[in-house]
């Protein structure tokens, strides 16, 4: 690992260690059937750190590997390569059921698709109550129920008692999404992996949930990995913004810094595409069709090179690594310019 890890460097001491850290996290999927050996590189060499009480927003193109990262962190997928450290302890070393339960209790996940993430055969309270039963063994049955009611109300579903008694098919997509969120809140976790938790909500309700995230972070110290397409909402809640493209993290930095001063051309393109009624239309992206790349058996080189307006020769042969280009702000691009004060750091 070279210079590029921007946040405080990892330490083995669990107190000073970041809440969660990944090193060279990689996940490939086999595609095609039978004897096909083609590999889809969903996530490649990802180093990601989430601090305590931090909201990290993860944005990027559809299919760039955001959900895959969340699923890796939640233990749904096993990494092809690399390692995840939770409070300094490697996930792969947690083998006993107790360790695993403890981790699952601390790090729940909100799934992206609310239509498939609730079991249609059970009332929506099922998942919440099960979580409580597994992770809050101190509670009695009725306490669990009260607790469930509390979190359902917290995500803005009222009357909570009635909603909890419904079956998923009786709820709208937005309502289901909030149930998923409530489920993650239920047992006082340390880090919530929220995979596009507000995508189906109307703007108005969306804001309520974003405010809830901020509030939770403030009052209970919960960290978030907030995956979203909606950069504006990321700006609204997140401390740090991480941009992915085709399995790589291409840029990462404090939210305001990234928005104000994007280093990677893809970030530029992405920001330009975000519609904003308050801002005039920018004609930045003429000609780009927005087609995501296929990351099947990639060759070295920048994965954005075909769409990049600034492409140089180097981009075709060398995969760029992340460099520090500003205050806590780094990007993986051969041509990106560092902030004035950061040249020395960027030099290799």
């Amino acid at each position: 690992m070279t210079s590029v890890n921007v946040d405080q460097l990892s330490s083995t001491d669990s107190d000073s260690a970041p809440l969660l850290e990944t090193k060279k996290l990689t996940r490939h999927f086999r595609v095609g059937r039978g004897l096909s050996r083609k590999m889809l590189h969903a996530v490649d060499d990802v180093d990601l750190t989430i601090g305590r009480q931090e909201i990290v927003a993860l944005a990027g193109e559809s299919g760039s590997g955001k959900s895959t990262i969340a699923r890796l962190l939640a233990g749904v997928y096993k990494p092809t390569d690399g390692e995840i450290y939770y409070q300094g302890q490697a996930l792969s070393s947690m083998r006993s059921r107790r360790d695993q339960l403890a981790y699952r209790s601390d790090v729940p996940m909100v799934f992206q698709d609310p239509f498939s993430s609730l079991n249609p055969a059970f009332r929506v309270s099922h998942g919440i109550l099960r979580s409580l039963k597994l992770h809050r063994t101190d509670l009695t049955r009725s306490q669990r129920y009260d607790e469930a009611e509390r979190v359902v109300e917290a995500v803005g579903l009222a009357p909570a008692g009635e909603i909890m008694h419904r079956y998923p098919y009786e709820l709208s997509g937005g309502q289901r999404q909030r149930i998923g969120f409530a489920q993650a809140l239920a047992h006082k976790p340390k880090l919530i992996l929220a995979d596009e938790p507000v995508s189906m909500l109307d703007v108005s309700i969306r804001i309520g949930l974003l405010n809830l995230m901020a509030e939770l972070r403030r009052s209970e110290g919960v960290s978030f990995l907030y995956i979203t397409h909606d950069i504006a909402s990321a700006r609204y809640v997140a401390d740090r913004l991480v941009i992915m493209y085709a399995g790589h993290i291409v840029e990462s930095g404090p939210t305001e810094s990234v928005l104000a001063n994007p280093k990677h051309p893809y970030t530029d393109l992405l920001l330009g595409a975000v519609p904003d009624p308050r801002a005039p239309l920018t004609a930045a992206v003429e000609g780009d069709t927005g087609e995501p790349p296929k990351v099947i058996d990639p060759t070295p080189g920048c994965r954005f090179r075909w769409r990049c307006p600034l492409v140089v020769d180097e981009c075709h042969h060398i995969t760029p690594t992340r460099r520090r280009l500003g205050d806590n702000h780094d990007a993986a691009c051969h041509v990106a310019q560092p902030d004035p004060g950061e040249e020395n750091l960027a030099a290799r």
Partner: protein, 330 residues
């Protein structure tokens, strides 16, 4: 101003659910002029798609038009026979559906689906017209041989739009054509649509629940709430000075990537159940500025400056309050 090509009057659509009918579109009036880009926004479930399908006469049971008329180029589509409609469809107005994955027949090639449309009409189009329109939306005509599942989401949407352009109709109705796409792809597609519209001069009715999306592209904006049009006017005018508390709420709930970071509040409460809509003003249970008349009197669309809004605050002779925002905080 010339006569509009599409005049929707008093259009009402009900879903038959067994017990109480759901009135998904409630007495909607709407004019669309030639070459105009009309955006229809509103939260999900407020009846936008239903309205579009009602205009295109594409509703199928349990939905049915129970009142009103849809005049297209002077003819009432509601009363028209299916055969006559079939002749009109696609040639004069076409439809782009919400999700191209489902709207394209998965077992037919793109070219085959073009051919079906051509065979259904005796339009004098040349054989390479499909290739031409595909190129127009930026797809290699080689994909005429492809099947839908072989194309990416963006390409499918483009192919749909290309198909809609086949006979260069006067009106294209689009139902959230970009909601399944990535922001970048969405943006690129919107730019292209706008471009084509300006080039070819067709009118567009464009449905979405993404306020920000229409802000850049539409000429006129229709805001729907619970099956009703609650605000109607030039896009800029609505955005600059929303007259209905719901429109205002929508705009206020919008974080922005530019400008100062301000705390935002959403609209409390949840969308109404259309089978049992609230009495009076349908927005009143969630309205920050509701007053005692709201649950009792059903508002109409009142003229407010250059826009129309369905809010009792703007009813002629209303003295209740002059400034809604102030009212909310007092």
């Amino acid at each position: 101003m010339p006569k509009p090509i599409l005049e929707v009057r008093d259009l009402t659509v009900e879903y038959d659910t067994g017990d109480r009918p759901v009135v998904a579109v409630d007495a909607v009036d709407l004019d669309v002029h030639a070459g105009e880009f009309v955006g229809v926004v509103g939260e999900s479930g407020c009846g936008k798609s239903t309205l579009l399908f009602a205009i295109a006469q594409l509703l199928s049971s349990p939905a049915a038009i129970t009142g009103g008329s849809v005049r297209f180029q002077g003819q009432n589509l509601v009363a028209m026979s299916e055969t006559k409609l079939a002749a009109l469809r696609w040639r004069d107005f076409s439809v782009v559906m919400q999700s191209a994955m489902n709207a394209l027949n998965p077992v037919k090639s793109i070219g085959g689906q073009f051919k079906d449309a051509i065979m259904a009409h005796d339009e004098p189009v040349t054989d390479d017209r499909p290739a031409e329109v595909l190129r127009l939306v930026g797809i290699d005509p080689i994909h005429l041989k492809s099947y839908p599942h072989q194309l990416s989401g963006g390409m499918r949407q483009r192919a749909m739009i290309a198909m809609a352009l086949l006979f260069t109709p006067d009106l294209i109705i689009m139902d959230e054509p970009t909601s399944a796409l990535d922001v970048v792809a969405q943006r690129s597609l919107m730019v292209q649509i706008k471009d084509l519209q300006q080039k070819l001069g067709f009118a567009v009715v464009f449905v979405t629940h993404d306020m920000s999306l229409v802000s850049h592209f539409s000429d006129r904006l229709v805001v729907m709430y619970a099956g009703q049009v609650v605000e109607l006017g030039a896009t800029r005018a609505v955005f600059d000075n929303p007259a209905h508390p719901y429109s205002k709420g929508l705009l206020d709930a919008f974080p922005s990537i530019r400008g100062p970071k301000v705390p935002l509040t959403g609209i409390p409460g949840s969308p109404p159940n259309l089978a049992h809509p609230p009495s009076g003003c349908r927005f009143h249970p969630r309205c920050p500025v509701a007053f005692e008349d709201c649950p009792k009197i059903e508002p109409e669309l009142y003229q407010v400056g250059s826009v129309q809004a369905r809010c009792l605050l703007h009813a002629p002779g209303q003295t209740h309050a002059a400034d809604p925002i102030r009212e909310a905080t007092s």
